[in-house]
């Protein structure tokens, strides 16, 4: 009898919990705040020290560079500089700075602040010079004033110096011509931080332990990231949330929402459920298979990000017979790219005919060999190359990964293998977990034929073509001086029209030379509650929350 009573009490208690829970639901939308589901915490809120998307998403709200991008495009527009000119030799760039701008700590933005930041980056201490930390400085500017062992020095640097000409005129001096320089300045990695805060909160101070790992001792990047952007850091509880508040000193139109909260949710299914339950109001990189679910929900919506990536089948010419052009052409004709694009991308991909995405200057469009799926042509080419059919190839694809340009690598690989086998090849599969196993195999030149891709960092063709084909790269295994020179010349050309033409020619040459076969450009997607308005998706994910609000 007593035990029955006990059971009854337990049941009543459980009912009570459920009833109380139902009376008070989970966190719901506040009118002046937006919760965005990020896939992880930022690494640090200091632009030059990060290259991952979640760090940059926060950095984009707090810091601004000399130039910016027109929302939703890769078109350069004034930001902290209102105008600029390049000298005839392309080695001196003069920027007129915007007046009346203050950092969120109240200190003024001026030419001295610009030089302070550039010199800070150029003078980074040894532990911060590796590409994992200062990837964009390494990529764009290439050298440091005081290089640590193994780091590039001033002789490799594009940056030479910075001169102030009065309070609002600044000159950046370069060691050689580069046109991608201006496009790269639009990266918020090169956003200008308050010199006062950088010093006060010891941005670059730290110790190096016996394992060589840098441990920052300052608090600039964790508690006091001070920029000129529409938002400023309110609080950061690692693993839980990061809050930014509207910057009352912002020089431009004030942010429409007072607070943005970034909540780390690493699991895509959990992100979707949190959006459905109203606990978050948006998230990025929606899996293609979830798009139909979101579109079917009357309270949610999908936002497309313009295609700015490429998925490709890489070919390593260091592994015979991939050094034979006809074999590479046979692979290109043997890949049924149209079927893969239509079947595995939920309508969000277009077949790629060249390496650059169509939205980028330098995309050729015309004159590029197209390689439609043609098994007979592929077989003829293999025979003309003196190969005995079927030609064995080792085909690599990654597991445990979904990239915006390659959401389901295994199915892509299986479809390509089927079409290649129709075309005179005998495919042997190899797979490995994406990171770091698969990338280690491919990047060290051990994979013969493989799936890979690239998402652009900034709106410049050099970020695609020169990064991949501008110098010897073990994953492609070729030494082609003609191509290296073409791309170097194109990068140094300061006349925009000539530069575009140079890259168009390079694109045509690349598609004839076939270091890889591009197969899709895709449109990544964001998801939001339907009443969220004003978010402009950018091809390079440089997106501001300042214009976001709720519809009535």
């Amino acid at each position: 009898m007593g035990l029955k009573k006990l059971g009854l009490l337990a049941a009543l208690a459980a009912l009570g919990i459920v009833a109380a829970a139902s009376a008070s639901t989970g966190s719901k939308q506040a009118s002046n705040a937006l919760v965005f589901g990020s896939s992880s915490d930022p690494v640090i809120i200091d632009g030059p020290l990060v290259s991952d998307g979640e760090s940059l998403r926060v950095v984009d709200q707090i810091f601004q560079g000399l130039v910016g991008l027109k929302p939703g495009t890769t078109q350069i527009q004034p930001l902290l500089a209102t105008s600029w000119t390049a000298s005839a030799n392309g080695l001196t760039w003069t920027f007129n700075l915007r007046g009346g701008v203050k950092f969120s700590d109240g200190t003024p933005f001026n030419a001295a602040a610009v030089c302070f930041n550039f010199n800070r980056w150029y003078d980074f201490p040894g532990p911060l010079q590796n590409s994992a930390v200062t990837y964009y400085w390494n990529t764009v500017f290439g050298g440091f004033a005081h290089p640590a062992a193994g780091s590039p020095g001033p002789d490799k640097s594009l940056y030479k110096g910075c001169k102030t000409k009065g309070s609002h005129l600044v000159q950046l001096l370069l060691n050689h011509r580069s046109s991608s320089f201006l496009g790269a300045l639009a990266l918020t990695n090169f956003g200008i931080a308050s010199p006062t805060a950088l010093v006060k909160y010891k941005a670059d101070a730290g110790t190096v332990d016996a394992n060589g790992v840098f441990h920052p001792t300052g608090t600039f990047g964790t508690q006091h990231p001070i920029g000129t952007g529409p938002y400023m850091l309110q609080s950061w509880q690692v693993g839980n949330k990061l809050e930014i508040d509207a910057n009352p000193l912002y020089w431009g139109p004030k942010a429409k929402l007072q607070r943005i909260i970034f909540r780390p949710i690493s699991d895509p299914a959990a992100q979707l459920q949190a959006l459905q339950s109203g606990e978050i109001q948006g998230f990025d990189n929606v899996a293609p298979q979830d798009i139909a679910t979101i579109k079917a929900n009357s309270k949610l919506k999908v936002l497309d990000r313009p295609a700015f990536n490429v998925a490709y089948v890489g070919i390593n010419q260091a592994i015979p017979p991939m050094n034979i052009l006809k074999v590479r052409q046979a692979i290109a004709y043997g890949l049924d790219r149209a079927t893969v694009a239509s079947k595995f991308y939920a309508g969000r991909a277009q077949v790629a005919t060249e390496f650059l995405p169509p939205s980028l200057n330098g995309y050729a469009g015309k004159g590029v060999p197209l390689y439609p799926f043609d098994p007979n042509k592929a077989k003829q080419l293999l025979q003309a190359a003196g190969q005995t059919l079927p030609v064995p190839i080792d085909f690599w694809y990654p597991t445990s990964v979904s990239r915006p340009y390659m959401p389901d690598p295994q199915r892509n690989a299986e479809a390509f293998a089927a079409s290649l086998e129709q075309s005179g090849f005998k495919v042997t599969f190899h797979s490995a977990p994406w990171r770091p196993d698969y990338l280690a195999q491919v990047q060290s030149g051990k994979a013969e034929v493989y799936l890979l891709g690239w998402t652009g960092d900034f709106g410049d063709p050099a970020d695609f073509d020169n990064v991949h084909f501008g110098a010897f790269n073990p994953q492609f295994g070729f030494h082609n001086t003609k191509l290296f020179n073409m791309l170097s010349k194109a990068d140094q050309e300061t006349n925009a029209a000539k530069r575009t033409k140079d890259y168009q020619q390079a694109e045509i040459y690349i598609m004839k030379f076939l270091p890889m076969v591009p197969y899709v450009h895709t449109k990544p997607a964001l998801a939001f509650q339907k009443n969220v308005v004003g978010y402009v998706a950018s091809p390079v994910a440089l997106e501001s929350f300042a214009t976001v609000s709720y519809s009535k």
Binding site: V43, I261, R263, P264, D267, S277, R435, Q443, L452
Partner: protein, 335 residues
């Protein structure tokens, strides 16, 4: 008792040395390197060599291990993450309380449901209820946690909107967390709203994670009660005319709790080492999901420091289990 505790604590030294060596060898046997993990598609041979040089990864393994020991033991430093620059101790301080709360929540759920279920199943041995409880506990152990988690969230968060699906507290709340144990903080702050909010966030992950110990506790309780209720002293108690409730409470359940206490200890030890899937599905900021990320990032200092810490936790929890075993059953002597 004190000698026993001190001896067990001394045993930590060889255990930790062994664990450190095993972990060191294991992570260096994995293909790929931190450089490739950090740089992803952007890695070049030069940048990989640069990073390997900076972190000393181009040195012989024994040199790297020695340096690691010097840093850990000599400077009492568990290391700093290669990826995030955050010290391992900072992450542990932040995340371990979340893991402890989740583990305790899961065990509380498993005990609150499992003990009565197992007890009544034994009392109604062979009945429909008994068979149902067995099937229920089997289901608990065989449904993958991530699937159960998603289903629970779909029902209670998405469809019904009763409970939150992610995190430890309402994201709009602005509360201080001096201990990082949110329930404790809410009690210390005398804030019933915060307490209820924290409990609400704990319910679904606790049920998902507790499904495994629930199944084990139910089955062990059932078996133990079946054993104990046929003992002579139980029959004697009944023959003396003791009310059935008192027999069950004082003689059956109390004696059946001994094997359950062992299971509780072992399971809690396991749960404290991090519930990777539950933490991932519920965006629960504990040590499990943190260490999972570190494996993919080949973040050597985090893996070494984090696993060393968990080894200490596991040993200490087992020590507590052994001590509690002696307290519950005075016939057992620790030696």
């Amino acid at each position: 008792m004190l000698r026993f505790i001190v001896r067990r604590l001394f045993l930590l030294v060889p255990i930790l040395l062994g664990v450190s060596l095993l972990v060191f060898v294991w992570i260096h046997l994995l293909p790929g390197s931190p450089a490739q993990a950090l740089l992803g598609e952007r890695a070049t041979p030069q940048s990989i060599a640069q990073i390997n040089h900076q972190f000393g990864l181009d040195k012989p393994l024994y040199v790297q291990y020695w340096r690691y020991l010097v840093e850990t033991v000599g400077h009492l430093n568990l290391g700093t993450s290669i990826k995030t620059f955050r010290p391992v101790t900072f992450e542990i301080e932040n995340r371990f309380p979340a893991t402890v709360e989740l583990a305790l929540g899961a065990m509380a759920f498993a005990l609150a449901v499992g003990i009565p279920l197992g007890f009544f199943a034994a009392k109604k041995y062979g009945s429909f209820f008994d068979h149902s409880s067995l099937i229920f506990s089997l289901l608990g152990i065989s449904i993958p946690i991530f699937f159960l988690g998603l289903i629970l969230k779909y029902i209670f968060a998405v469809r019904l909107g009763w409970l939150p699906s992610i995190g430890r507290e309402d994201v709009l709340a602005t509360r201080s967390h001096p201990t990082n144990f949110y329930i404790l903080d809410a009690i210390l702050n005398g804030d019933p709203g915060a307490l209820w909010d924290t409990i609400k966030h704990l319910i679904l992950p606790s049920i998902a994670l507790g499904s495994i110990p629930l199944a084990i506790v139910t089955r062990i309780t059932r078996a133990a009660v079946l054993d104990v209720q046929n003992e002579d002293y139980v029959r004697t108690a009944r023959a003396k005319g003791l009310p059935p409730f008192q027999v069950d409470q004082r003689h059956v359940l109390r004696n059946a709790l001994l094997p359950i206490s062992t299971i509780i200890g072992l399971q809690t030890g396991l749960l404290l080492s991090g519930a990777v899937l539950t933490e991932t599905v519920f965006a629960w900021p504990g040590v499990g999901s943190w260490l999972k990320d570190a494996i993919f990032d080949r973040d050597y200092p985090v893996l070494q420091g984090g696993i060393m810490f968990l080894a200490v936790v596991f040993v200490v929890v087992n020590l507590i289990v052994d001590i509690s075993y002696a307290v519950i059953n005075p016939r057992i002597r620790l030696s």
